[in-house]
């Protein structure tokens, strides 16, 4: 547990480094180069990969739910998103309610 604070400090430093570099370099480098496209791809792929893994193979509490239920809840969230004319808030709440409801129906312990 004690290792968590130094880790956080490192993560804070590397996160700010991108923002600080942006201020420093603004107006001096182009944002439409191949290097930028590549690093954008890596960043997108990394977050998408982590989110899909959490949905497909979660650890912790989500492990107690069924894969089919998690996928269904994501599908419901996405459907609500388009039906509500891209209202992200309503979609996220719908997805969370869906997983809770599906999980509750599966194991009604009263």
């Amino acid at each position: 547990m004690s290792e968590l604070w130094p880790l956080l400090l490192l993560c804070v430093a590397v996160t700010y480094a991108w923002r600080g570099a942006g201020v420093l370099l603004s107006g001096r480098i182009a944002t439409d180069s191949d290097a930028f496209r590549w690093i954008t791809c890596v960043a997108y792929a990394m977050v998408a990969g982590l989110v899909m893994r959490i949905i497909v193979m979660p650890t912790g509490l989500l492990e107690t739910s069924l894969l089919a239920h998690r996928l269904a809840a994501c599908g419901i969230g996405l459907a609500v998103y388009y039906l509500s004319r891209r209202n992200l808030f309503v979609a996220v709440v719908a997805g969370a309610l869906a997983i809770a409801a599906l999980n509750y129906l599966r194991a009604p312990v009263g």
Binding site: C11, Y16, G22, R37, V42, L61, N103
Partner: protein
């Protein structure tokens, strides 16, 4: 409305971190000092599965790379002679997807001198809401039945799922998301502790090359 989405996603983050045994101080401090939900999620998730520190720091670094082009495009909008240089370095910390999207639209409608204070105020408000929300999520997670708790913990994954699928406007982003989405679970099976880093690197590079190949063939 952005405040509601921010609050929901950070309540989810707080609940997830709380359920995973992360101390509340670290949860709140990460929201204020990192101010990057994907990076925070990467850090908390990888730490929970016991990934090496170097892998976590590298993954957090790469997952936050979007801040460089975002800052580069926003700075010319905020520039005004009336502000000292350090103000920009301080304000840059407040940059996030939400703040960037709103500022890029609203700042152009106001006098140049007012843009930086507007951006700073907006960012500070968003950080305050999110820090509060992560604390609320953390405390809620410990005090409600597991069946409802699962809904809270699911807020962050479903938020990113809908955001990434629904907002993938460019073909490059869509290909990168698809490659990453496939690579994430796949590499988790092969190498759990390094999976986030390797999946991002290989999935992202594959997407980049695929996009280049498509461009070359003129599709």
């Amino acid at each position: 409305m952005p405040a509601g989405v921010l609050a929901a996603s950070y309540i989810g983050f707080g609940a997830m971190a709380g359920a995973g045994g992360i101390p509340i101080g670290v949860v709140i401090a990460s929201t204020i000092a990192m101010w990057a939900l994907p990076g925070q999620l990467v850090m908390v998730d990888m730490w929970q599965i016991g990934a090496p520190v170097i892998a976590i720091v590298l993954a957090v670094t790469l997952s936050n790379a979007r801040f460089l082009p975002m800052t580069l495009t926003l700075m010319p909008v905020l520039r005004d002679r009336s502000h000292p240089p350090w103000y920009y370095y301080l304000a840059a910390h407040g940059l996030s997807m939400t703040v960037w999207t709103i500022s890029m639209r609203r700042c152009l409608e106001m006098p140049a001198a007012e843009r930086l204070p507007y951006f700073t105020g907006l960012a500070a408000a968003c950080i305050a809401v999110s820090a509060g929300a992560s604390a609320v999520g953390y405390l809620l997670a410990g005090s409600i039945p597991p069946l409802i708790q699962i809904g809270l913990v699911f807020l962050t994954p479903v938020y990113f799922f809908v955001l990434l699928v629904g907002e993938a406007r460019s073909r490059l982003a869509a290909i990168a998301l698809a490659c990453g989405g496939l690579a994430g679970p796949l590499f988790y099976v092969l190498t759990p502790q390094w999976s986030v880093l390797v999946a991002g690197f290989i999935g992202g590079t594959a997407a980049f090359l695929l996009h280049k190949a498509l461009e070359r063939t003129g599709v």
